[in-house]
Symmetry: C2
Subunit: 144 residues, 2 copies
């Protein structure tokens, strides 16, 4: 972006702290060669990985397991020109380790869609970027 464009870049720690505040984010992936996006519940793990919970038979699992995906969370007040957005980009994989599955079954995210075959998906935080929309700036509030 441009200097004084109304956005402030966030560092990795700020990004992960903000993400952990909201319950819902959006996983961004490719489905049948088209861009796709789906809101989901999530948790941020201690190392910054994004954890999702979904049905083992879902389209989402088929599309993201083994693929590089993006995961976005935000909190934006459009009227006040304030808020933030964070994106984690990295490979996604279904968790197959039984002990790790067990840990997440106790402490991990919950799925909205009940299924007897739930799996957890982990998105590695290879790239964590974010920006804050600086309050007080507006389209007409700055000399461009």
């Amino acid at each position: 972006m441009y200097p004084n464009d109304g956005f402030r870049e966030l560092d990795r720690q700020e990004c992960l702290r903000l993400m952990a505040k909201v319950p819902v984010g959006r996983v961004v992936f490719t489905r049948q060669a088209l861009p796709a996006v789906l809101p989901v519940n999530f948790r941020v793990d201690a190392d910054g990985a994004v954890l999702l919970c979904t049905s083992a038979a879902s389209d989402l699992v088929r599309a993201v397991d083994g693929a590089v995906v993006a995961f976005e969370a935000d909190e934006i007040d459009s009227a006040r020109f304030s808020g933030w957005s964070v994106v984690v980009t990295g490979p996604a994989a279904v968790i197959t380790d039984p002990a790790e599955h067990e840990r997440l079954a106790r402490t991990g995210p919950r799925s909205w869609a009940p299924s007897p075959w739930e799996v957890f998906v982990r998105i590695e935080p290879d790239l964590v970027t974010g920006r804050e929309l600086v309050a007080g700036h507006s389209r007409y509030g700055l000399d461009p």
Copy 2:
């Protein structure tokens, strides 16, 4: 998704009506071969196209002009297991027609980032899908 999974598919008219209620959505595209997502202000045009406003020099314009993108908007109350999400998928293009640009400069979406070289981007509503998270369902509220 599965029958009785807590989601209701929305038809095209419902999707467009819901989208028009919220000011912020997320444009989903590919940047340097990676999935990317950016929250933006938007408007829904009379024919269902999604309209964005951004700087002519932005990364976003370079990435989406001429590409098929997805655009997502939602309103979700995670605690109550209720809300909706809508995705419009189609080709995006910068509006180059002066009369159309003029119309949107009067009535179209506003950018958060001020720029002397603003352009409007139109996303064709080739595919409009959405779903409602049916209130009252929860992970443990349904027999799977």
